[in-house]
């Protein structure tokens, strides 16, 4: 035996008890994940077949309810346009905060309000876009691009904050070297800072896109409706979350089955995006 005093049985018991409790809580946290994924696959995979992905919802009260082609096309288009707005905007703001505004009061205020935007519920963004763009009938009533604007507002703070963190990691020596060699500031940003930070920027943007792709509430007030496949951003457009929401509320078995299939498709899309983001991140970490 060692010279150290042995730990009393009571303390040992307490230690064991709390360690098991912590392990138990961790496993408990995974129960919903397992249940959700299990239910999704068992109910959703049954709905999947070729026609499920190649037909539009028919809207008929009996018989074949149709598939989710228009919803998938709509989600991809709306989210792509949202990303095209939010990613450059967000990275631009992050570049300002890191490259030009570092330590200034203005940059501090901007950062504060970006944080404020992070906390704004998605439904409020939806309302805002509805008030500003839909009610005023700019370019028609409900249109897909307005949905993209709402999603972009949602993605913007996420892109900005994650980009800022990554840009701060770019070593200052790199910037100074380039400046000392006579490169103008904009060239330093374009040729040194951005390429160095690229994998992190891609990861942050993809995660923001993945988050926005599953949002329902902002689209409810903006892109809304239309069952047929459409590539017209100036008109109404279907999307996976809206399709699921409508099907659930009708509460008919065949529509609910389609909702499960659509939900599985949506989760697979989001997981793929998340996976790509993680791979990019890992690759940059090992390089």
């Amino acid at each position: 035996m060692s010279a150290l005093a042995a730990i009393s049985p009571r303390r040992k018991r307490t230690d064991l008890m709390f360690r098991s409790l912590l392990l138990g809580a961790t496993l408990l946290a995974l129960v919903p994940l397992v249940l959700v994924i299990y239910t999704l696959i068992s109910k959703g995979a049954g709905a999947w077949n070729v026609s499920f992905f190649t037909t539009d919802p028919t809207g008929r009260f009996f018989g074949d309810p149709g598939g989710i082609k228009s919803a998938m096309v709509g989600t991809i288009l709306i989210v792509a346009v949202a990303a095209a707005i939010a990613v450059p905007f967000g990275i631009g703001v992050a570049l300002y905060m890191v490259e030009y505004g570092k330590g200034t009061r203005f940059a501090g205020i901007v950062r504060y309000f970006v944080d404020v935007m992070t906390g704004v519920p998605s439904v409020v963004f939806g309302l805002f876009v509805y008030i500003v763009l839909v009610l005023t009938k700019i370019g028609g009533g409900f249109t897909a691009w307005k949905g993209s604007v709402a999603l972009a507002l949602l993605m913007l703070p996420v892109v900005t904050r994650s980009s800022e963190v990554v840009l701060l990691l770019v070593p200052n020596s790199l910037r100074e070297t380039a400046l000392a060699l006579g490169a103008p500031r904009w060239k330093v940003i374009l040729r040194v800072v951005l390429p160095t930070a690229l994998p992190g920027l891609v990861t942050g943007s993809l995660l923001a896109v993945a988050r926005a792709a599953g949002e329902t509430a902002p689209l409810l007030f903006t892109a809304f409706g239309l069952a047929a496949t459409s590539a017209n951003l100036g008109g109404q457009m279907n999307s996976l979350p809206i399709q699921i929401f409508n099907d659930v509320q009708k509460a008919q078995d065949r529509l609910v089955e389609r909702a499960w299939g659509a939900a599985l498709a949506l989760v697979v899309m989001i997981l793929l995006l998340t996976l790509v983001a993680r791979v990019v991140q890992r690759r940059s970490a090992t390089a």
Partner: protein, 341 residues
């Protein structure tokens, strides 16, 4: 600047760029600053428009009356949002009471106890909870959780009716189910931020506790938890902000009854759910629409206050971490919004 770069003859210094070559530099700076300023403009505009559109409701019922009157009656044109505010607070409270202890326990387990090999996969699995969209949780809640939980809830209600807020018949969709779903959605956020905060606990504190003979749990209780208390509080508040604003999942499982239910298992309504649900019928009724937008404004202000509080706590934890980190590890940094996790 101008003067110093001129030589005696008034020409440019040979090291200075021509005005034309300076143009892209200036343009970049102004464009980027403009983008940053645009964010402030959007938020100011956001607030003003929201207030202006909500004004008819506030003008009719008063800001105080709208928020705290217990009568939401669309057909009578009376809009008092108290049932919605109460529903929002009840569901968020349930979510925090269930979600935060589990999230913090998960964070402690993953940072302090978990064997190295299992840590990565377990962390990813907890984070995956955040990747499932709100609508999918709603779908799962309606067709899986509600039918499966109902017998258990009814048993609970029948046998433990002496407890406050328990008893009576179980509705199916209820405050409790909504709170449970919110707990699941809040869990990964709270857990991620708690983990980051716990990672900033100086290793000296932990080693000192262990060297003095503390068991693992005693070390956690005496050095990890006190050190990360502020950060965990902040994490819980960010979770609260998320729970309050969550819309679609709650709309599907709360029952959408605009009254204050008398038990945990009765149907209710939340601010966010009422907006999503009544939005369509409100399109033709300006007062109804104004009331919904006012509900959005109340929600916005509520989340604003909560998030400001959360940021205060997380930043305090960050600063505490910063003081110790200055000695060695400068990378200890807490990302305030866990949304990217």
């Amino acid at each position: 600047m101008e003067a110093s770069s001129l030589n005696a003859r008034g020409d440019r210094s040979i090291l200075e760029r021509s005005p034309l070559a300076q143009l892209p530099d200036r343009a970049t700076k102004w464009i980027l600053t403009g983008l940053a300023a645009l964010i402030l403009v959007i938020i100011a505009f956001f607030f003003i428009r929201l207030y202006a559109e909500a004004h008819p409701a506030f003008a009719k019922f008063g800001v105080f009356g709208f928020t705290f009157d217990n009568d939401w009656n669309v057909s009578a044109g009376i809009f008092g949002a108290l049932p919605l505010v109460v529903g929002t607070l009840i569901t968020a409270t349930i979510a925090l009471m269930i979600g935060v202890p589990i999230a913090v326990a998960t964070a402690i387990y993953l940072t302090e106890l978990c064997p190295g090999k299992a840590r990565g996969p377990l962390t990813i699995m907890v984070e995956l909870l955040a990747a499932v969209p709100s609508i999918v949780y709603g779908l799962w809640g309606v067709f899986f959780l509600i039918p499966k939980l109902k017998p258990a809830e009814q048993w609970f209600s029948d046998h433990l009716g002496f407890l406050p807020f328990v008893g009576g018949s179980v509705a199916g969709p209820s405050y409790f189910v909504a709170g449970l779903i919110l707990a699941i959605m809040v869990l990964p956020i709270v857990s991620a931020i708690s983990r980051e905060v716990m990672a900033t606990v100086p290793v000296e504190h932990k080693e000192a506790a262990l060297a003095l003979g503390a068991t693992r749990w005693e070390m956690i209780r005496m050095s990890v938890l006190p050190y990360s208390r502020a950060g965990i509080t902040g994490a819980a508040m960010l979770g609260l902000g998320r729970a309050i604003g969550e819309t679609i999942a709650v709309t599907l499982v709360i029952g959408n009854a605009p009254v204050i239910g008398n038990s945990l298992f009765s149907q209710g309504y939340t601010l966010a759910a009422v907006i999503a649900n009544e939005f369509n019928e409100a399109a033709s009724n300006p007062l109804h629409r104004a009331a919904l937008i006012a509900a959005g404004l109340v929600l916005f202000v509520l989340t604003l206050l909560i998030n400001a509080g959360a940021r205060y706590f997380v930043r305090r934890a960050e600063r505490m971490g910063g003081i110790n980190a200055a000695k060695g590890d400068a990378g200890a940094r807490v990302a305030a919004p866990g949304a990217a996790a």
